[in-house]
Amino acid sequence: MPSTPVTADRAPAGTTVLECRDLTVRFRTDRGEVAAVSDLSFDLRAGECLGVVGESGSGKSQTFLAAFGLLAGNGRASGSIRYRGEELLGAPPETLDRLRGDRLAMVFQDALSGLTPTMRIGDQLAEVLVRHRGLPRREAQDRAVQALAAVRVPDPGVRARSYPFELSGGQRQRVMIALAMLCGPEVLVADEPTTALDVTVQAQVLRLLRGLRDETGSALVLITHDLAVVAGLCDHVLVMYGGRAVETGPVREVLRAPRHPYTRALLRSMPSLTADPDVDLAVIPGQPPDLENLPPGCAFAPRCGRAHDACTADRPALRATGPGRASACHLDDAGGHHGV
């Protein structure tokens, strides 16, 4: 976004901007404690795009809600998430409010209800600049219109004076992205940014995210269950299952030669335009794991066709399987590649 004041203080490309270590997120419920995320560690480097993949309830959203201090009231996070060395977990509200919306930004899944219905679009954009950049109201309003133009909202001057209900779903998601990008964040987390949108609009929004990342050099985290989106946009991928990382690595390698049976199953269940239409799409048998009753072994074992005794007894650790790659599977212990 050319109009945005770019802060001089940016981490050089390749250095770690977000460092997550042994993150565990628990929720107290009527039926006891539920671990939504367990022992999760990962690094996010400046300028990198990380795809976080997993089905609903795999803990991918809760990981980043914890980083932003936005967990629901009954949720507790332990471990560590640092933004350029600064601890985010348990940080006082003032610290979080200084970073959120400025250095760290998030685009949420529910674009349709993410904007305050009683405020004009322009005011919602302007208040972020007033808050984080101390701009005078008038100037902030002008910047708001520019920001709308940058995410290609038609008639930005008119739209700035509109209320959210007067915009289409795609336009609203563009506004959400404009809001997140206003201060040129170093980390942009997009949580299923296209789920609520029409298919035609989805591609536009993804193109927009990619364009913005290329322009600003923000690190982008894309939370999704769509491997095709990850393939098109991301450098690295983190596959989560039952609240744990099951496979990580560079996107090309992981998608070409997945090591974890869950990643393979996900790839097989992807629809493709070139596949034989008479062959049924592969489905992963069984149910997503019940977070209240996780098995002692591998959470995927009940659905894995090749699970053996060790799989149900011990939980496999995440182990390096190559440069920059890791996988958590007992079948991988021998180090050899198991054919599908």
Partner: protein, 309 residues
């Protein structure tokens, strides 16, 4: 918006006409008459009195006469409060009731909104439970219990404030009735405010506002309150109209010259002109405050504003 307001005011006139007509004939259906209490009058005298108030004419003629006078703002003489016209009685009592009612509403709004907002922001903490416990007590204790207690403690024991009386609206005389009148309303408003806040605090647009680091104060005032106030506005419309009726008990206990007592005494005494005068004032209040409440909705919610155009 102006068009909408004018349209609503246009509808108000036929509405008022229907209310007035219904009240006029319903009242006449009730047995008894205004001079029943003065039983030992000679029949001829009674007949003379009735004739002087046009009560001997056919009902439809009386109705026509009533309408002709009412459009000129003349509701006739009170049949019970001798030497007073209904317009005079209302002119004396209404300012007292309005002053009392508005001050109480204002106090209730300030305390109720503050309590409700704080309780919602500290949901399920001691603060929340304390506010809600007080609210429940406030709702459970009617004014005819709290008012004498207040008068007893602050008037008789502590001798800080007068026990009763109006004294031309001196603030010392106003404190106790205003507080007694406000207390149950504080409770209702606090509960409505808390409920509205909790509903909105869960909305995803509040989470996205937090993700922008806007700070709690700004989020509450700009993002949460406009939506959270909507249930309260719905309650306030009719409640403001109740300024007149709501203070009846308080006016009796503290012996204040308000309009509340005319409601009951007018009806019991079959003081037809007084009842009609009160009905017209009350109906006007209800129509007016409901309109104001609907306009306040439009002020808070741009979607409603668009629909009103």
């Amino acid at each position: 918006m102006l068009n909408y307001t004018l349209r609503r005011l246009g509808i108000a006139i036929p509405t008022l006409f229907i209310i007035v007509t219904a009240a006029f004939f319903l009242m006449r259906l009730a047995p008894g008459g205004p001079f029943d209490a003065e039983a030992d009058l000679e029949p001829e005298v009674l007949e003379n009195i009735r004739a002087s108030y046009d009560l001997d004419k056919p009902l439809l003629t009386q109705y026509r006469l009533f309408l002709q006078r009412a459009v000129r703002g003349d509701f006739g003489p009170s049949l019970v409060y001798k030497d007073y016209s209904v317009t005079e009685l209302i002119a004396i009592g209404l300012p007292v009731s309005i002053q009392l009612g508005l001050l109480a509403k204002l106090l209730a709004l300030v305390l109720g909104c503050t309590g409700g907002i704080v309780a919602a922001l500290r949901q399920n903490t001691t603060v929340d439970h304390a506010v809600m416990a007080m609210a429940m007590t406030g709702i459970a204790l009617p004014a005819f219990v709290t008012a004498p207690i207040l008068a007893l403690v602050f008037g008789l024991y502590l001798k800080l404030l007068p026990v009763a009386g109006w004294d031309d609206g001196a603030w010392r005389n106003l404190v106790l009735p205003v507080v007694a009148l406000a207390l149950p309303q504080v409770a209702v408003i606090a509960r409505l405010m808390r409920g509205g806040m909790l509903e909105v605090l869960r909305a995803s647009f509040v989470r996205t506002a937090r993700a922008r680091g806007l700070g709690e104060a700004r989020i509450v005032t700009r993002h949460v309150l406009p939506t959270a106030l909507i249930p309260l506005v719905g309650y306030l419309g009719p409640a403001l109209a109740g300024i007149m009726t709501g203070s009846l008990v308080i006016e009796l206990i503290f012996n204040l010259p308000g309009v509340g007592r005319y409601f009951v005494q007018g009806a019991l005494n079959r003081d037809y002109p007084l009842v009609m005068g009160i009905v017209i004032v009350y109906a006007t209040f209800i129509i007016l405050f409901n309109l104001l409440s609907d306009l306040a909705y439009a002020g808070l919610d741009p979607r409603v504003r668009k629909a009103y155009r």
